[in-house]
Symmetry: C2
Subunit: 274 residues, 2 copies
């Protein structure tokens, strides 16, 4: 039986591309409407794995996803990078001069800011880039356009009016693959944790010192608010290592002693950044 993998969006979404980067072609895919739907589907067994964007090289963390992986029971089992190039697209007859409204994901607006600033279009945030393209096709209206991938323009039969409109031509998104179990194998060389420290001076430093003392290479730190305790934070930390390694085991144990909340989010193979 083939695996069932969930992604957010519709056919042609960057998440679908990430999915096929990681899994082979013979998986079944489920297109879901919201990020949270992936976590829910994973919980009730409708899907075996889910693919979610976690960070973009130009616009930073996708905060919603950080919050979701801390809230739901799930583990990161892999990661993959997808180059994200945005294109402005519309139906036949649509041109830069006819456009009044542009539909896309807010992140696509943000990543194409310099281009969009030259026009006076109304920007309407929509579920994702591919769904925006689908919507433009269905509406069949010259006054509206979408921002999305070249693939989406082909799938939904739209003309590209301006290509690679993203400000940064190295625009890349990191996606994570979520499963229900914490798994690890010899080739896993990256660990993600989320923690909150006790509320006293130097608490975060006390946690981080275990990385330095054990020569562990910290790759990233991201902070998110603790919603019900204003001005305290969850720290999401990525670092190199394998959870079966004794040095890592010991460091994780020592670290967790200085924390209120401590969760291993996963141990997986570091993907190659492209």
């Amino acid at each position: 039986m083939s695996l069932t993998i969930g992604f957010q969006g519709v056919k042609g979404a960057f998440s679908e591309e990430a999915l096929y980067n990681f899994f082979t072609e013979d998986v079944e895919t489920v297109a879901l409407k919201k990020f949270e739907d992936i976590l829910i589907s994973l919980g009730n067994g409708t899907i075996d794995y889910g693919v979610l964007p976690i960070e973009n090289s130009s616009t930073g963390a996708i905060s919603d996803v950080y919050d979701l992986i801390n809230t739901y029971s799930c583990y990161i089992v892999g990661e993959t990078y997808v180059k994200v190039n945005h294109n402005l697209m519309g139906i036949t007859g649509c041109a830069l001069e006819t456009i009044e409204e542009v539909y896309s994901h807010p992140q696509a607006f943000e990543q194409s800011k310099d281009f969009l600033n030259k026009y006076n279009w109304k920007l309407i945030p929509y579920y994702n880039t591919a769904k925006s393209a689908e919507y433009i096709m269905k509406k069949n209206n010259k006054k509206i356009a979408a921002i999305g991938s070249k693939k989406a323009s082909q799938l939904y039969n739209l003309n590209v009016l301006a290509s690679n409109i993203n400000t940064n031509n190295q625009n890349t998104t990191r996606f994570i693959v979520l499963g229900k179990e914490l798994v690890s194998s010899k080739e896993c060389n990256k660990i993600s944790v989320v923690l909150s420290t006790v509320h006293k001076a130097g608490a975060l430093y006390n946690v981080l010192k275990h990385f330095a003392e054990n020569n562990i290479n910290m790759l990233k730190i991201e902070s998110r608010p603790l919603v019900h305790t204003p001005w305290e934070y969850y720290f999401y930390i990525d670092f190199e290592g394998n959870i079966e390694d004794d040095i890592i085991k010991n460091a994780l144990h020592e670290m967790s002693k200085d924390c209120h909340h401590f969760k291993i989010l996963g141990n997986y193979k570091q993907a190659i950044k492209n």
Copy 2:
């Protein structure tokens, strides 16, 4: 001559409330359309100071503002907290059943997510909460509503259809006051810096150790991508201290040696969190 202070939005914006928290009533205020307009106005001398939201207790950092204060020449001279309660408002005749579209700032949607999830309204992001209220008043249409402050509903003569719809009733936003010069006085007890480390293992730790070694209390760390160098980061760090203090001076000097980019963003008086 009275000072001229810029804020983003229109009359009734939470930023305007923050402005009057910090300055006395006899200042001239300038309502500007975008966050960036405040930095531009500060640069060309149109305003003496600008007030900007930097962080919300429920939804976290306001990334655009973090990026702007690192890009433009400006310094944080103060901070203030504003309790943010959101309300759904419309013209006379507008009711929960007549609404089809809701206008507001995306952060207001995010902060009112649990309430909005109960309805099938189309959410249309707009410049800010007060401008959304103004727009609803002008449109005079029962099918559209806005989310904003009670003050905005009064200013724009709208009925509150649902009050305090924010998920978290402790929802608070921290605002910063920006000026052109780095100033410090005896009562300044909080310092903000932004830095990027050299790209090698343990680099961030090497910077942070100066806080611990000098007994400096780190209050917050936030990371933002270095747009043109994918997967490297700027770290924004807030900590306690006065830049005239010798221990602080020395720590800043040592820290900057381990950094590629190092900028003191300001020294100011810590506001009381409410």
